[in-house]
């Protein structure tokens, strides 16, 4: 495992992966009242304050109204948060404090299956939150059907990416407090500088390259904005390719990093 290629080893999986997913779903369903509220309320709050508040000073941005411009960003941020936080803090609590992983690997499940089940669940959270959000945004008249429907399946794929990123940090973090670092140094800048609330082209060129090269949210926003506006961005094919490669790599990294941490 000490060779760098070990990070790309394929996980050994059986359909039992689904039982890990089921466990998390059951907990989610038990506490559904708290779980459904944030994805429902959050877009309303952001749309009202930023979209219609700040937006009233902005007659038009990149050819559309400001609320229409930020609506896909709000969905993208929700996907990022759902995947990332499910597989950082929530997974860390299950792994370290609740010893849930220890309990599960005493059954026929392997650690590979536990981690993949967790990541699939993180992606599912992204999908659920997006599905709740989309009708709200539609009622505000800021997303364009029918293309916007494709945002739902895409949310699962983008959720996989952010869940995998989260799981990598969970595998590497010494304790739960140090999970704040990727949150402040990675998630927050990404939230602000990924073409979310203003176009990337306003940034200095080197920062633009950084955002396109390194920030996954940039590409997720590009894809979702193309779908909610019904107009494909020039960068769309590149963004899809970037996301596909990053998702596969980070998914494999996360499983193998967790194995290094847990198989002793």
């Amino acid at each position: 495992m000490s060779n760098p290629l070990g990070l790309l080893a394929l996980p050994r999986l059986t359909p039992r992966v689904f039982h890990v997913w089921q466990r998390n779903r059951d907990v989610f369903v038990k506490t559904y009242r708290v779980n459904f509220l944030p994805p429902f309320l959050e877009p309303i709050l952001y749309l009202l304050s930023l979209g219609f508040g700040v937006g009233s000073f902005i007659p038009e941005i990149a050819g559309v109204s400001y609320p229409e411009f930020i609506a896909p960003a709000l969905i993208s941020i929700t996907i990022m948060n759902a995947g990332f936080f499910e597989c950082t803090y929530a997974s860390y609590v299950r792994m370290y404090y609740q010893k849930t992983y220890d309990a599960i690997i005493a059954t026929p499940l392997t650690i590979d299956e536990v981690i993949v089940g967790e990541i699939l669940w993180g992606a599912t959270r992204a999908l659920i939150n997006t599905t709740i959000m989309l009708p709200v945004l539609f009622l505000f008249g800021v997303v364009d059907l029918p293309w916007a429907i494709l945002v739902i399946p895409f949310a699962f794929v983008a959720g996989l990416l952010f869940a995998s990123i989260g799981m990598c940090f969970t595998a590497l973090t010494p304790g739960i407090d140090t999970l704040n670092l990727p949150t402040f140094l990675f998630i927050t800048p990404m939230f602000l500088f990924s073409g979310t609330f203003f176009p990337l082209s306003l940034l200095p060129a080197p920062v633009q390259y950084l955002a396109v090269g390194l920030l996954p949210l940039t590409h997720v926003v590009t894809v979702i904005r193309s779908l909610t506006l019904g107009v494909p961005a020039t960068m769309l094919p590149f963004s899809l390719l970037w996301l596909a490669v990053a998702t596969v790599l980070l998914f494999l990294f996360s499983v193998n990093l967790m194995k290094r941490r847990l198989v002793v």
Partner: protein, 302 residues
């Protein structure tokens, strides 16, 4: 018959540290087999290798006749595990804990429901079925973990410190249940610090220290072999030592007193009181604790 567990030269290293050092043992079907030893002796590491969650470094380890490497899922489906630390799922109730766990073994729902009813009765938690985990007492949690370990009807039950921190009532209930499980023909492997527990439950046991096995055998025989039938205790003075030397008795200093291991406590006591004019002498039957302390020493282990 194929042994349930067969370890030969089994070794586990963590970097430079050797936690388990070339141990060999066999556990036969239907027996209760104990691992005793001070903290850090390598008991839990050995258990984790048998449970297929920690890969061995060297040697051979066969469970149900299968070399563990590559057969993990198959072996684990026939093992039940009671871990040292309570790792019940705090997000669920008693019943849900068992149901969710049964799914990991691919138990069909109707079968799982029947098994769970049976197990709740077995561990006397039927009334608590809808109680959240945090509301359970320590003893109830332990019983629930035992029930959870039985949900797949395992051939081999592995318990790591099953009764740690329990009151005598709760402990006796667990012991009672373990005997029943054994009487049904299941094999049980357990680790414990409680020597009384080992003496009562185990058909055979090993005492481990510093990654190796010091002795192996039925508890009664180990006591007889390493401590004699009785222990005579007297104050540690030069006269007593001289007297015991003259009798040819085996003895060891234990703090302020000397302990002589003997099969003829009467003779030793009479000699000590009669010939050496001693005040304080006590004789008692030897226990596994005497063997344990003799073999592993009195020094505190961290």
């Amino acid at each position: 018959m194929t042994p349930v567990i067969e370890a030969t030269g089994l070794t586990k290293r963590f970097g430079d540290f050797t936690a388990v050092d070339h141990v060999s043992f066999r556990v036969e079907p239907g027996e209760v087999f104990g691992f005793l030893g001070p903290n850090g002796a390598g008991k839990t590491t050995t258990m984790r290798m048998i449970q297929c969650v920690s890969p061995k470094t060297e040697g051979s380890l066969r469970v149900f006749g299968m070399e563990v490497e590559g057969r993990e899922a198959e072996i684990k489906s026939q093992i039940g595990v009671v871990p040292q630390e309570n790792n019940l799922d705090p997000d669920f109730t008693v019943y849900q804990n068992l149901l969710v766990y049964s799914r990991y073994f691919d138990l069909p729902r109707p079968e799982a429901e029947a098994v769970i009813e049976e197990l709740l009765t077995f561990v006397e938690l039927t009334e608590k079925r809808d109680t959240p985990i945090e509301k359970l007492s320590g003893g109830m949690k332990r019983r629930l973990i035992l029930a959870r370990a039985l949900v797949n009807r395992p051939r081999l039950l592995i318990l790591d410190e099953p009764t740690v921190g329990l009151d005598p009532q709760a402990r006796h209930l667990i012991w009672e249940r373990l005997r029943e499980i054994r009487n049904r023909g299941n094999t049980i492997v357990l680790t414990t610090h409680y020597l009384e527990e080992a003496e009562r439950l185990c058909d055979r046991l090993v005492i481990m220290d510093r990654g190796g096995i010091l002795v192996e055998g039925p508890p009664r025989e180990l006591v007889k072999q390493h401590a004699g039938t009785h222990v005579v205790e007297a104050d540690d003075t030069p006269q007593v030592r001289a007297c015991l030397d003259r009798l040819g008795a085996r003895y060891e200093p234990m703090g302020e007193i000397l302990q002589a291991y003997t099969d003829t406590p009467r003779d030793v006591t009479r000699a000590l009181v009669g010939e050496c004019q001693l005040g304080h002498v006590a004789a008692r039957p030897a226990t596994l604790e005497d063997v344990f302390l003799r073999l592993t020493g009195r020094k505190l282990r961290e």
